[in-house]
């Protein structure tokens, strides 16, 4: 069964550094999403991406964040200058038709 994959599974970085989180969505899916879950808190929506552009983003997704689909298979989330409060589990999701979202296993980001 096709799955969403994410790399790395864990990332530790210093405050102020740039990080890129990578996702490979399910191959025939057209809608892509990033969510995050700060430890002990709700899963929060960051951004959705369709037809090579952002379709929706939350207040969390400020200028420090960007997304890209650099080729036909990867979907990346970049945090330009990480802050302590960016420490969280980041989930990528994809959907064939925008109805059901399938999630990857997540990348745990720790900012020191």
């Amino acid at each position: 069964e096709p799955e969403v994959t994410q790399t790395p599974s864990h990332q530790v970085t210093q405050m102020g550094q740039e990080v890129i989180l990578r996702c490979v969505p399910i191959s025939n899916h057209l809608y892509f999403y990033w969510y995050r879950q700060i430890l002990g808190q709700k899963v929060e929506f960051l951004v959705s991406f369709y037809n090579n552009e952002i379709s929706e983003k939350s207040e969390i997704f400020d200028d420090q964040f960007s997304v890209e689909r650099p080729d036909g298979s990867n979907f990346t989330l970049k945090i330009r200058s990480t802050k302590l409060e960016d420490s969280a589990m980041y989930f990528c999701a994809s959907s064939a038709n925008g109805e059901t979202q399938y999630f990857g296993p997540g990348t745990r980001l720790l900012v020191l």
């Binding site: 709700k42 959705s48 989930f91 999630f103």
Partner: protein, 112 residues
């Protein structure tokens, strides 16, 4: 604004006992409703979904959920819990192509 409430943060049941996890939502239109499960260190796995039609939907692993429009609820049930069901369960509401809004989750513990 859409919101999801899961009133029970923790629930403990004995193995073999029945289970009901509560979910209440607030949404302007007819929502898409989902239940996801997260095992420790894992991603979010889709258990079941409701878009329209039947009020009782069947999912994987023997789970089902009942949509009650009048109560704005979408409670998850299982007739007989197994030890492997111990996990965190998230209810979510959304719309086609758009963000999911998650509840705070209910952590299920199963006593032998």
């Amino acid at each position: 604004a859409q919101s999801v409430t899961q009133p029970d943060i923790h629930i403990t049941v004995s193995e073999g006992a029945s289970l009901e996890l509560r979910c209440n939502y607030s949404y302007g239109a007819t929502p898409y409703l989902f239940w996801y499960v997260q095992s420790p260190g894992q991603g979010l796995q889709l258990l079941l979904k409701h878009f329209s039609g039947d009020t009782l939907v069947q999912g994987i692993k023997g789970f089902e959920a009942e949509f009650k429009r009048s109560q704005s609820s979408f409670n998850l049930r299982k007739p007989s819990v197994h030890w492997s069901d111990a996990a965190e369960y998230f209810c979510a509401v959304g719309d086609a192509g758009n963000m999911l809004t998650f509840g705070g989750g209910t952590r299920l513990m199963v006593k032998p």
